[in-house]
């Protein structure tokens, strides 16, 4: 029986689209960030606080991925960034073609930094390249301190980890040191920021770092 060789990546189609997005954004001097976490870790809140702090310095565009509703997009719009909503209709992650379609609906003229809020999920988004330059994983003190060990792939592919909800540390059993250790054992190059979107603690350091990243084209 004849054998046919393919030797192609299963996600080749997605990777191709992602590469096109990356090149077209880079040609316009735009840097892109893919922000991922489990549901409710605080991606949208972190984005609101980040936009409020950076909007005078940077043009920020946002693509909001959600399984249903446009609630997050409305919050981001109110914070002062141009926003496009993608409803994935049940899919547990964003794919590059969704970003390509969303980009056609956004005015990129004044955008320096494009932020993509992925669907709340620590597993599936790790496999789909969206054409981003930076992957950020957010964890929070209310979800248990074993997340890096349980979902290592997400931490292996990210460049930044943000630990959110520091203000709740006194009320939860969360070992910050253990989370840092776990995450760095998977990815020794991970940049770690510890913040509270409630009190503002740590946000200055994160926003300064991001501001520098966005301009370092």
């Amino acid at each position: 029986m004849p054998k046919v060789t393919l030797a192609q990546n299963i996600l080749a189609v997605n990777e191709h689209v992602a590469q096109e997005i990356r090149q077209s954004l880079s040609a316009r001097g735009i840097r892109a960030l893919n922000i991922m976490s489990s549901p409710g870790a605080g991606k949208t809140t972190l984005l609101e606080r980040t936009i409020e702090r950076l909007r005078g310095r940077l043009g920020i565009g946002v693509i909001e991925g959600d399984v249903e509703t446009s609630a997050d997009a409305e919050r981001i719009e109110a914070a002062g960034a141009e926003t496009v909503q993608i409803n994935t209709q049940g899919t547990c992650h964003l794919e590059a073609h969704m970003i390509r379609d969303a980009l056609a609906q956004i005015d990129l003229a004044h955008v320096d930094l494009l932020v993509i809020e992925n669907v709340g999920n620590l597993v599936c988004p790790a496999a789909w390249d969206l054409g981003e330059d930076l992957r950020v994983v957010v964890v929070s003190t209310t979800e248990g301190d074993d997340k890096p060990a349980k979902y290592p792939q997400m931490f292996a592919i990210s460049q930044v980890m943000i630990v959110n909800k520091l203000d709740l540390l006194p009320y939860v059993n969360y070992d910050l040191q253990k989370v840092r250790r776990q995450a760095l054992s998977i990815n020794p190059n991970l940049h770690i920021f510890e913040v509270s979107c409630q009190t503002g603690e740590g946000l200055e350091a994160w926003c300064d770092w991001l501001g520098t990243f966005a301009r370092g084209v």
Binding site: M1, V4, L6, A7, S185
Partner: protein, 120 residues
């Protein structure tokens, strides 16, 4: 969790190749799946079976999965080692600086097909 989406991508790529090769049926599909690709083999096989039952050319096709171990190369002592649970520590010199050399693969390697007799 996303094995269904991965299976869908496999089916699409295989169907396209089957048409290109004028195949009447695809008997098997061989994959390379890295230990650190985030894919659970059983779950992928289940999704694949479900999807192929709806694709005439692929109905009954076997999914053959070659698993690839997660390995890294130490930048300091240049030795290659097995990465266990994603922890990238060199067992020889206890150095954290290493480079992944295998284990992230997610590839379709080959198909076994039956051709249309009339076009042979």
């Amino acid at each position: 969790m996303h094995e269904l989406a991965i299976a869908q991508s496999i089916v699409e790529a295989v169907e396209a190749k089957a048409v290109e090769c004028n195949a009447a049926r695809v008997k098997s599909v061989r994959l390379k799946v890295g230990e650190a690709s985030g894919i659970v083999g059983d779950s992928l096989a289940f999704s694949f079976e479900m999807l192929t039952s709806m694709a005439p050319v692929l109905t009954g096709a076997h999914l053959l999965i070659d698993s690839v171990p997660h390995r890294a190369l130490c930048r300091r002592c240049d030795s290659e080692f097995a990465v266990v649970n994603y922890v990238a520590l060199c067992p020889t010199c206890q150095e954290w600086s290493s480079e992944v050399v295998s284990g992230t693969e997610l590839q379709i390697m080959e198909l076994e097909i039956e051709r249309n007799d009339n076009h042979a």
